[in-house]
């Protein structure tokens, strides 16, 4: 059945089953491939997007359950000017980059509520997996946000 989704400020009508996870609606139906598939069971965070400003793992989020606007990495800013994106470039965080859409979205949601998270707060909130092991840089980049 048709669902009306507001994604990055644009209204999309998608005709899919209600239980289809948002991840696959984004990637395969709409073509927003910045949001990544990593595990499909909400265990890695690669698919993190914002719904109503909250970080959610879209691989297990049925599209029927969504009631608010969605922001994906493509919509975090139009020109990579979100402070988290800027910090990521400044501190050269990504290696392969595959986890970083989700990592950035998770961090962006955290700092929206808590602009100066401690390392412990960061670690308990942002549980995303990065197999390239960019964690030191993630911490540095988040710390640099706090000092702005």
């Amino acid at each position: 059945m048709p669902y009306h989704l507001t994604i990055n400020g644009t209204l999309h009508d998608v005709d899919v089953e209600g239980e289809m996870p948002l991840l696959w609606v984004l990637r395969d139906v709409i073509g927003l491939t910045g949001t990544k598939f990593g595990c499909g069971i909400a265990a890695c965070g690669a698919c993190t997007v914002h719904v109503n400003g909250e970080a959610v793992r879209s691989c297990t989020l049925p599209v029927a359950s969504i009631t608010g606007p969605i922001t994906t990495i493509e919509g975090l800013s139009v020109d990579s000017s979100h402070p988290v994106q800027k910090a990521w470039i400044e501190k050269q965080v990504p290696q392969c980059g595959y986890c970083q859409s989700g990592m950035i979205m998770a961090v962006a949601a955290l700092v929206a509520h808590n602009p100066k998270p401690s390392e412990a707060e960061l670690a308990t909130t942002v549980t995303n997996v990065c197999r390239c092991g960019t964690y030191d840089r993630v911490r540095e980049a988040v710390a640099s946000l706090a000092s702005v």
């Binding site: 395969d28 595990c39 050269q92 197999r131």
Partner: protein, 744 residues
Amino acid sequence: MTVSRRKAILGTVAAGGALILGYSLWPYPQREKARAVLGHSADNALITTWLKVARDNKTTIIVNHADMGQGSQTGLAQMLADELDADWNLVSILEAPAEEPFANGDMIKGLLLGGELNIPAILLPPLGYLAPKVSRLIGLQITGGSSSIRYTGVAAMRPAGAAAREMFVSAAALNWNVPASQLTTKLSHVHHAASGRSIPYGDLIEIASKLTPSDSPRLKTPDQFTVMGQPIPRPDIPEKVNGTAQFGIDKRLEGMKYAAIKHSPIFGGEVESFDEAAIKNMPGVVRVVKLDGAVAVVADNTWHAMNAVRALPVTFKGGESTGLSADAMYAGFEKAVAAMPDSDDRKQGDVEAALKGATTVVEATYRLPFLAHAAMEPLNCTVIAHEDGTAEAWAGSQVPLGARGAVAKALGISASKVTYHNLRMGGGFGRRLETDSITQAARIAGEMKGTPIKLTWSREEDMQHDKFRPAGVSRFRGGLDKDGNPVAWFNCYNWKDMPADACLVPYGIAHQHIGSVDAKAPVPAGSWRSVAHSRHGFFTESFVDEMAHAAKMDPYAFRKKLLADLPRHRAVLDRAATEAGWGLELQPITGLRRGRGIALQEAFGSITAHVAEISVDEDNKIHVDRVVVACDCGDIINPDSAQMQLQGGTNYGLSAALYGAIELKDGKVAQSNFDNYEVVRLADAPHIETHIIRSGAPLGGLGEPGTPGIAPAVANAVFAATGQRLRALPLKLESNRAPQTARL
């Protein structure tokens, strides 16, 4: 697309007004093509490299190593740009297409000239060569073995940049009619100080392109470097923060269908039957395709395909791992290594006599499990097989030419009919040296001519059908004399892997016998970041620690004493120990037992030492608080990338040290996803400090050396903190907690 792009790269002054310099000194099969392009004798050819300079002075550096986040594309471009005296702001990087002229014979040459007798193991699996013949390796395009910078960079990029610089100087000399000796270069311009004139390279491409590049251009000395050694920001980063980077999995084509796969859970099992009718009416299902030991479902999106393949009733039959379980496997390995080695890696002196004469004999047996690579991006490949017998394919591969070949073979067409596009890899770590998923996608596409097919493995398939780091057992006997000096080192291990010398220790011990027994399990094995070093690093550096403690010596001092003839090793060890504050008391924290451990490893041309500071809590859980890594990799091209690689390599090894285990149960892999194959996340990622020693020795690799030393450093630290020696990975102390009584 590829044809025109190839022309663009190989043409001399192409339509766009660009000077293209292909620089080849190796008589590889495409020599004629290269000669036609390069306009110079290729008889003395050894290396290949590519450079394009346009009239507007824009400089494109073509690199033949793929990006999986390791930063070597940037490093390679830095090497060429520096020798060229290019303005880095004008430089862009293009990954070489998967075409033979861009194979990296340079790396092979590096292996030969670098004095290494063995081709790194990481290069072997995609070839399936048991006895690699160098001549057969020349036509490859491989990213692996921590080889890009130290081989391609040294042997190809720098000379190519230097040769091109000389051509621009000569061109300017002709243009101005002045001696070349009066000219200098800087920021993509040639300058003539006497007349105050300067000219951009872009204005000289016409003349320069007619000149013959020197086969022995003068290279810069390190004090002249302006781009090498600088922490230049990686140009691939901006697109990795806004979702625009194109990974293999992101490929989309008009009319594309999506495939998902299910393999025989028993390794080597075959498909006996499946019931297509049972899923035919599931949403979006298009068809089922039978593959070797697997079935795939094609549907209108990935989710439908994955749901349907999961629901598809399939009967598999047979398979080599039938009935195999972890306990029986380890028991078999232990029995095998209890015997003497049937193949020796090193035999010097008389170990048995030395052990008999020793005051103290230390004995220990270690083991470690299979490991999955678990790169963040599950395996995938997109292929379209056209009716006219051509095909086009997209994936992220560490072996683009191999990927092209796999598509061709699967479709029964010649490689020249396949255009292969290498996209970014969401991690490789050795897994993307294999082409299994590429073959499968091509097979499916071959069944559905004209329809683009994207095959995506689920995480479960990716984890359970990996080419695993082999499990293994390693038995040691060490002898100490009455003063605590080690006199004998005996080691017998199973499942030998490459590099062959990974099992050797640098320590000066007179009597040594190191060798392997041929005991394996029917489980597919592959190259896992740092390959055999990740196994032997844990084994040997744990045992050396045990010997130190048996000798009642500090483990750092003990190692150092055994490195009398190896000043580089000593310097690395010293640096790590000093930076870590070895010998100073660790800050006590209530409720925690704390300790430090050290490990040293030589791998891929670099010498690396890790010092880990750990805490063990009241529940006996191990926390790694801080890691200091010192590395002598000769010199560094990009200090920022070097740090990232050492940190990333250490975290990769730490996941294996603390969590990683793929275990068999009834012939099947018991683990399936990140919920039961845990990896390091922010909460358990230590602060990792890196210290690079620029000894000036030949460049060593950096992609892998960070990995092997962390597990033994942590294990040794656990011993320091608790007095318990952990001899198996992943490292786990028995829980202190009383077993929970069942609640009704």
